[in-house]
Symmetry: C2
């Protein structure tokens, strides 16, 4: 018995006329009194394989009673398919029914169009659908490409702490992590909660970013990246925000903002090429059923060089656009989504890197430019998605960093370790952050970011 | 200016006699009045590259004042080295000092042996040492190999929820995640903490395992794995336990316990081969300075087939061993570390997979064997490390699962989604878990698991 994956069988990896066994779940069954066609999916690729079962089979009666979702082991001869759109099929010599579906009429995953909203209610079963099978394989393809991209370029993967004591950006709502008994909190003499009796002997939170920690590694190993979960407790339950999401954060020593933007562009194009090359089957489905231009927009993304525009020039362009915006356009104010969309979708028509933002609304660690008014920050904006990457060159000059921390009201004692790198062989360095679920949402043409994560709104997940 | 990594320059990836530029941090400086030898490390590999600087250089005075930790950009001609143990060196035509070390005498990272204990106090700088540079590159090599192994075998990476509402095993202390104001907790009518006003509208915790969630994906996509952080709030501050650690958890549909053990063996051997092939430089250092048999024990691990022993036979062997143990050896009691060590180190002398443990001290989801007394669980034990992998075949029969849940006092309503897979095309399936930091500790010969993680005991990390 040669067990093969459906994807490999369909891809012609096994000799025609040979005997193979596939294992999976029934997608559809149709046929006549004398012949049954059973489509079996094992999730290895988009397409199921068709098993042709003749009534000579000893358990043909059982086969005819199969319904979507039943699990089977099919053995037979691999032959070229006469059917349209499939390369191979199996002439079954044996079909073992491993598991039936209890009450097929109420089985939630039926072979018909189902809305993402409904499927979020049965999130534990949705990986069995065409859409979420495709999303999961595309997500996997992207994550493998993330690791491969950096590994090929001598970056080291670093897992920075999830439970932390500090807020990486001095901003962003954090989740508290605690083992204190909420019903009976320990108090100190002054009546305050006594966190010295908490698990770590102090107040702890979930990380909002691994950046500051990973910088420590960049300033020893030169090229590093994180790829791990981060958390934001902002109470914005929109279709674009998650409380828990994975982030990719590369950090490079001896890199300036121009190099940062170059890597960001190269990296995104690498990821999209990987998806188009490796998941053509799933992307074809996405283009057919979810987002018509899902493939062509990635192709355009790959072909075109990203535009570079300074924030100051972007403001001038927006002011001259003649377009009426809801939010004011003025030097010193942050760009809103409507401004970003106009820039990338209407004005440039391809991805844009906007650089050198006013210092007062960007983080303390971003490098102050010589004009004293802007910092070496960048946002990568793209049509159809908006901001996809944010990054900056970091402030490597201790005196200026100290002044910036004072300006932001941060205690230098708390950042002593971070200051150390400016005292001990300081170097220019830069990095960026990419929200992984937002990337998946874009590639898969989804409209709700909850459809890009594993398991929302089901027992076992808090995210909803 | 061709910027190259030190690793590639030393590996002969660039033509002898060509001009190259390397960027990094000074490890050591020695020399005479007329010549300086500056060792520069950029972390791309274990060895630094030597730059030979002659007094003709315009800033030779500066070069002579370099101390360990200073950052430099060196340009020059790549030539074969006359020195022992290095392939190439650079005859410098320019040395740019990018960053000095403020007060070199107090710079914590000196070119002398430093204990891991001391380095844990300056964890943010320890990646600049030989040991922690090596550990970080080995850790990266292992993580890349984890992803590559599964990707090559058609497994999908799944990121299961970190913030959860349930405890995967019905055991294990959990960290609470909350945004409630601890100083002013909301109360319901009965005076209890009102978690409906917490961020997710209910009580939430950090996950202890992604297994139950990832099973949902295995039962649609056949072969899946997690590689993400998990959390245990057990108050055991030993050198072997972490509150926050990364776990690898593959899960395979249509797999039984024997297949589970086969994959576990194949997987571990693949990881160790990757380290020996790809990080020979770092492993040579580990063998020289940390653990003499670090390389040979991995080689032995790869060569020998793992032994298989049933728990019942293991108990008999232990009882006949004539060895005096601190803990009792009796059928029905769990194996202690001393028992495991005797089995793998003294009795078998290579890795052992112990299978089929008594059901009453294993988790509810493990498959009950036909004897009604044992479950299809396995522990992989290895000399020098003890238990490295734990896994099981899962209970796929709904009636028996329900009976087991009742036995463990678990509410079936809470596990309805998990029960669904036994109602809808149930299949045998199996998986295992590997603690990633424990693996790193073993490969690197470390004695404290805190030396395997990024950044313990530093601001930004709660783990200590």
């Amino acid at each position: 018995m040669t067990v093969v994956s459906v994807a490999q069988a369909l891809a012609g990896k096994f000799p025609e006329g040979g005997e193979v066994t596939v294992r999976g779940w029934v997608r559809t069954v149709r046929g006549s009194a004398a012949l049954a066609f059973v489509n079996v999916s094992d999730g290895s690729g988009f397409a199921p394989i068709q098993a042709v079962v003749a009534d000579g089979l000893s358990n043909f009666d059982e086969v005819k009673r199969l319904t979507p979702g039943c699990s089977v082991i099919v053995t037979g001869t691999l032959v070229k398919s006469q059917g349209k759109g499939q390369s191979f099929e199996i002439q079954a010599s044996a079909v073992e029914v491993v598991g039936w579906v209890e009450d097929p009429l109420t089985y939630p995953i039926q072979p018909k169009p189902m809305s993402p909203e409904f499927l979020r209610e049965v999130a534990h079963l949705r990986p069995r659908t065409n859409l979420f099978g495709a999303v999961t394989r595309i997500r996997n393809c992207l994550s493998q490409a993330v690791h491969r991209y950096f590994h090929e370029r001598e970056f080291c993967w670093i897992s920075t702490p999830i439970i932390t004591t500090s807020d990486a950006e001095g901003a962003g709502q954090m989740f508290r992590v605690s083992t204190l008994d909420m019903a009976n909190l320990p108090r100190d003499g002054a009546g305050n909660v006594d966190f010295s009796r908490d698990f770590f002997g102090k107040e702890t939170f979930l990380t909002v970013s691994g950046q500051l920690n990973v910088e420590a590694y960049a300033l020893a190993l030169s090229k590093v990246y994180t790829f791990g979960p981060t958390f934001r407790a902002e109470n914005s339950h929109t279709t674009r925000h998650l409380a828990e999401f994975w982030m990719v954060e590369p950090e490079m020593a001896f890199a300036d903002l121009a190099e940062d933007a170059r890597v960001a562009e190269d990296f995104l194009k690498y990821l999209f090429k990987a998806v188009l090359n490796e998941r053509a089957d799933d992307m074809a489905f996405i283009a057919e059923r979810v987002q018509k231009d899902a493939i062509t927009r990635l192709e355009k993304f790959i072909e075109a060089p990203f535009e570079r525009i300074e924030y100051t020039d972007a403001i001038a362009l927006l002011q001259k656009s003649g377009k009426k915006f809801d939010y004011p356009v003025e030097w010193g104010l942050d760009l809103q989504t409507e401004h970003e969309r106009w820039l990338t979708e209407e004005h440039v028509g391809r991805p844009v890197v906007v650089t050198n933002y006013p210092e007062h609304f960007k983080a303390f660690y971003m490098r102050l430019n010589d004009d004293g008014k802007t910092v070496a920050a960048m946002d990568v904006l793209a049509p159809g998605i908006g901001e996809i990457i944010g990054g900056s060159q970091r402030e490597e000059r201790l005196d200026i960093l100290d002044a910036r921390m004072a300006q932001f009201g941060l205690d230098p004692a708390h950042y002593q370790w971070y200051r150390d790198f400016r005292r001990y062989g300081s170097v220019p360095h830069a990095g960026f952050g990419l929200g992984f679920e937002r990337l998946v949402v874009y590639v898969c043409g989804l409209s709700n970011i909850r459809d890009a994560i594993a398991y929302p709104r089901a027992p076992g997940s808090a995210e909803f």
